[in-house]
């Protein structure tokens, strides 16, 4: 039974990949390779260009603690998306829920699916570790990848069963746990890890069968009614009034809608990107030889790529928008502005941390801020402006936007901020291409 379900799911996955195999297996690796080579070059150039401080050596102990913090962060941001996949609510019923499949098999399938979902994280972490020459830590990353889904499933099920799907309580708990893990002696970390992992994995296995159906009501009542994210999205209307006045009405309204949707978990990737961008910003404090400009570009890129899954998730709703009197060019423009808006706090945070940790002269500080802001606008605009280039496939878009991000960083950060003007003709090209594609979209 397990193999049968796996085979069916693999067949579906294979069909998805088969549509774009050349992109993912030829063009993708070539472009990723080019991006890495360029990034390496920029990395070296920046270090020479702006007189970076000496690298801060991180001990293995610190790396371990930071890794634990990042895993807590992942638990927090993945909490609701994971819970939404657990509970077979009316809206989430899958064909498997209606078939006579034992919970053990469903758990195994769910676990494998989770492993596949986490695979990019594992590859990314391995890549980073190898990049910084920390190959001895790769087996650790492998172990975390293999066992973390069990911990995550167990924790999420237990938390909802014994507490509630409210994320504010969860945040407090995880912050407390983070503090404890940060201050505990390193030897006891291993003990707690060894002690808690089997408990959570076993509880997850047991709870998957016992609690999933029992807790549906509580889950639906507290989460599906949409309280989650409401408080954040309530900040939007007043902001939107200003936005709508500044921007052309059709653009302003779309940006307003997209921001509300974002804060209400329409795009789960937003929270993941936010946490990754946040981690990048914090890394400015211990950046070593890496330029704050490169870190800012990376964080802005991560944040701005939210536009891509947003656009892809809006695909089923595009017909409703298409019948409205919106010029298609403005659909594209709204996504560009959206990408800029959600990324705009990043240069300020990066600059703030940099000035706090390594104060420089006022003129130098202003110069850095100016460069960071220009780079942010350029990277976000190019990332948002290329959403139609990946044929609405976020992974493909990621490669194209990554390539342009490296180029923008090179031109604006390494050469001269005035080269920001080059962004306009590039954007102009993408605008024309996007408008053509959007206008010729068919809704059969």
């Amino acid at each position: 039974m397990f193999l049968l379900i796996l085979k069916t799911k693999l067949r579906a996955l294979r069909r998805i990949l088969a549509e774009d195999w050349a992109t993912y297996f030829i063009l993708g690796p070539v472009m990723v390779g080019s991006v890495v080579l360029l990034a390496k070059r920029i990395f070296k150039d920046f270090a020479a260009d702006i007189g970076a401080v000496q690298a801060v050596e991180l001990s293995e102990e610190t790396v371990l603690r930071v890794a634990i913090m990042l895993l807590f962060l992942k638990i927090f941001f993945n909490f609701l998306p994971l819970a939404r996949r657990f509970y077979p609510t009316e809206r989430r019923l899958t064909i498997e829920d209606l078939m006579p499949i034992t919970f053990e098999i469903r758990y195994q399938v769910f676990y494998v699916e989770q492993l596949v979902r986490d695979l990019p994280f594992f590859i990314g972490v391995t890549f980073i570790l190898m990049f910084f020459g920390q190959t001895s830590l790769v087996p650790w990353a492998l172990m975390i990848w293999l066992f973390f889904p069990g911990i995550e499933i167990g924790f999420t099920l237990m938390w909802i069963h014994f507490r509630s799907p409210n994320r504010v309580e969860l945040l407090c708990f995880l912050l407390l746990l983070s503090y404890l893990f940060w201050t505990l002696p390193i030897e006891s970390l291993g003990f707690w890890g060894d002690f808690m992992t089997p408990i959570l994995v076993l509880m997850g296995y047991w709870g998957f069968g016992k609690w999933r159906y029992r807790d549906i009501g509580r889950f639906e009542q507290s989460f599906s009614r949409g309280q989650e994210g409401k408080s954040l999205s309530e900040l939007i209307p007043s902001f939107s009034c200003g936005l709508v006045r500044i921007l052309p009405l059709t653009v302003g309204s779309q940006v307003w809608r997209d921001l509300i949707l974002t804060f209400r978990n329409f795009v789960p990737a937003f929270w993941r990107n936010l946490s990754l961008a946040g981690a990048c910003c914090l890394a400015v404090a211990v950046r070593g030889a890496l330029s704050p400009i490169a870190i800012c570009a990376g964080a802005v890129f991560l944040m701005a790529t939210t536009a891509s899954p947003l656009f892809a998730l809006q695909r089923p709703f595009r017909a409703s928008d298409f019948v409205l009197p919106i010029p298609q060019e403005r659909v594209w423009r709204a996504k560009v502005i959206y990408a800029i808006l959600i990324s705009l706090p990043i240069p300020w945070i990066v600059w703030g941390i940099e000035m706090w940790v390594r104060p420089i002269s006022p003129s130098g500080a202003l110069n850095l801020l100016f460069t960071l802001l220009l780079l942010c606008i350029a990277v976000a605009a190019l990332t948002g402006g290329t959403i139609c280039e990946g044929d609405q496939k976020p992974a493909l878009h990621l490669i194209i936007a990554g390539f342009l991000t490296v180029l923008a960083t090179l031109f604006i950060g390494a050469f001269h901020p005035a080269l920001f003007v080059l962004v306009f003709p590039v954007l102009n090209y993408f605008r024309g291409a996007a408008a053509f594609r959007l206008e010729h979209e068919e809704f059969s």
Binding site: G226, S253, R257
Partner: protein, 238 residues
């Protein structure tokens, strides 16, 4: 508002969705009926600009939608067969968004009006994901009627509604038509088509097999009810 379709066709690959079709509609309520897959939704999608025809041209108010899409779309209220509504917007937010895009004056009042008409005032702050199928349908209808557009294209508007709301909708459609709106409705509910529509178009496999006033069609089919009239045209003609 005048709709003029001349020689429009549509194919999905080798499948013929619509054979060459000519139609002139002006200020009436038209019913478009046919079996599943007859081409009703395809025809409606082409009229509102969601699908381009393979051949022929569509003029709305004397203008072609591909030449002046924004101007024409402002004048169309469209209800798709399955309205796709953003689950994470509230009813009020979605309607305000549509109203703003359509540049409707006093959007707030207009939104209040339609929410009240469909009995959804209390649900205005509810996320669309929390509404039942029928309520979502009412939101879809409100979005189509918002700003009282001169052309209403309603694909299966009665599906999923309770009896009282179906009657209310029939009344709203009639009133909109009296106020000057041209209305196109597709439905499988022959009773409503018979009652509401001044003209009917019957499609079978993308071909028009009947066209005219409901009573004339009934006489032609020598049928006792409009239901039988429909079956006569669908089963008897190629």
């Amino acid at each position: 508002m005048l709709i003029h379709l001349s020689g429009i066709t549509k194919h999905y690959g080798t499948f013929r969705a619509l054979a060459p079709l000519d139609l002139k509609v002006d200020g009436e309520i038209w019913g478009i009926i046919g079996n599943n897959g007859a081409g009703k939704s395809t025809l409606m999608k082409m009229i509102v600009g969601l699908l381009p025809p393979d051949q022929g041209k569509i003029e709305i108010g004397g203008k072609r939608i591909k030449n002046e899409p924004e101007m024409i779309k402002k004048q169309i209220g469209y209800l798709p067969e399955s309205p796709m509504l953003y689950p994470r917007l509230t009813a009020e937010e979605l309607l305000t968004y549509i109203g703003e895009i359509k540049e409707i004056s006093e959007v707030g009042k207009e939104v209040d009006h339609w929410l009240k008409i469909f009995g959804l005032s209390e649900k205005r702050k509810s996320l669309l994901s929390d509404l039942s199928y029928g309520m979502k349908k009412k939101i879809g209808l409100s979005s189509a009627f918002l700003g009282r557009p001169p052309l209403l294209v309603l694909d299966e508007p009665f599906n999923g509604l309770d009896v009282a709301t179906m009657e209310l909708l029939a009344k709203i459609i009639t009133e909109s038509n009296r106020a000057g709106a041209t209305v196109l409705i597709s439905s499988h509910l022959m009773e409503y088509i018979h009652r509401l529509c001044q003209q009917v178009l019957i499609l079978k496999g993308g071909i028009v097999v009947g066209e005219g006033r409901p009573e004339s069609l009934k006489r032609e089919a020598k049928a006792a009810s409009f239901h039988d009239t429909f079956l006569h045209f669908i089963q008897g003609r190629e």
